[in-house]
């Protein structure tokens, strides 16, 4: 099914459920990994992902099709993840970046994160970056999105995304090269 066809299904009340089921099947894993790269543990990711799908279902009528559907989905997922981090940090009386670091501590016991040593190091390195840099890097590296697409998702300029990505790369290299 093409994106245009999927949107036709989603915007028609008679076929909305069928379209939404297709959307859920197509995007659940991709959105899971994207959200996980921001909040860093399974429990948080699960909460955010569920909310994200519910938001998509309720707001699909407002999607005007000015950008690609997946860009819109990533934007909702990113906003939901960041909003979750802010709320959770406030609740735990922590800074957002400290919370991200803390979320990573249970990684070893997490059955949903079976990564290589190198990837675990990268995950740790990402938590040491400001969250916008980490998000840009992750969207580009893990989700293989173009910087132009990332700019659309984060609702910012391409120049800003380039700068964030450059800084992220530089810091990650430095962190990974530390003994």
């Amino acid at each position: 099914m093409t994106e245009v066809e999927l949107l036709t299904f989603l915007k028609n009340p008679k076929t909305k459920t069928r379209g939404f089921t297709y959307l859920f099947d197509t995007y659940n894993e991709r959105l899971y990994h994207h959200i996980r790269s921001i909040v860093h543990n399974h429990t948080y990711t699960d909460d955010v992902l569920q909310n994200c799908f519910i938001k998509v279902y309720h707001n699909i009528e407002s999607f005007e099709g000015k950008s690609a559907l997946y860009t819109w989905l990533y934007r909702i997922a990113t906003n939901e993840a960041l909003s979750f981090l802010r709320k959770e940090a406030k609740h735990q009386q922590l800074d957002v970046d400290d919370l991200r670091m803390a979320a990573l501590t249970n990684q070893e016991a997490d059955p949903y994160f079976d990564a290589s040593e190198a990837e675990k190091k990268l995950e740790v390195a990402l938590t040491q970056l400001p969250h916008r840099q980490a998000t840009v890097f992750s969207l580009h590296y893990n989700q293989e999105l173009k910087l132009r697409e990332i700019a659309e998702i984060l609702d910012t300029s391409l120049g800003n995304v380039k700068a964030l990505h450059h800084l992220a790369q530089k810091k990650i290299k430095k962190i990974l090269n530390q003994p």
């Binding site: 894993e29 569920q50 799908f53």
Partner: protein, 141 residues
């Protein structure tokens, strides 16, 4: 350190996806609907099939004609290159030869009429003549 891009995209356990699906759809108050014919019910499908068919026929027609033209051109160039024994200079060499022999040629001369006999004339023009021709042309336009 070499990082593998795709390994973090390991498939999630089916039980987890099922559990997530149950929770999401329950929260929305709907039941998942899956149909194998979802794509076939689309309005645009018959048009897409028809358009693909037209494009396929058009593509084949275009390719056939293009292939003919290309093979004629390639044959000439390869033939001449073979005679001259100098592949990459063949076309330039041919141009210079045509200029040199221009006065002896009929007005109807063109590459498509190039015969084996005509090509043999080119062999009388060696590389020195070629360069001299170019110099003379530059000096006396």
């Amino acid at each position: 350190m070499q990082l593998r891009k795709t390994s973090r995209k390991q498939p999630l356990p089916k039980s987890y996806i099922q559990d997530l699906e149950n929770r999401v759809f329950e929260e929305l108050g709907i039941a998942p609907e899956r149909s194998k014919t979802i794509a076939l019910t689309s309005i645009s499908k018959p048009w897409a099939v028809a358009a693909s068919f037209v494009l396929l026929i058009g593509g084949l027609w275009y390719y056939t004609n293009q292939a003919k033209t290309t093979s004629i051109e390639q044959l000439n160039v390869e033939q001449i290159a073979g005679y001259l024994g100098n592949d990459y200079e063949a076309e330039r060499y041919l141009d210079a030869t045509i200029n040199t022999l221009g006065n002896e040629m009929t007005l109807g001369w063109h590459e498509a009429e190039l015969t084996e006999e005509a090509v043999s004339q080119f062999l009388t023009v060696d590389s020195d003549t070629y360069w001299m021709t170019e110099i003379n042309e530059n000096e006396n336009p």
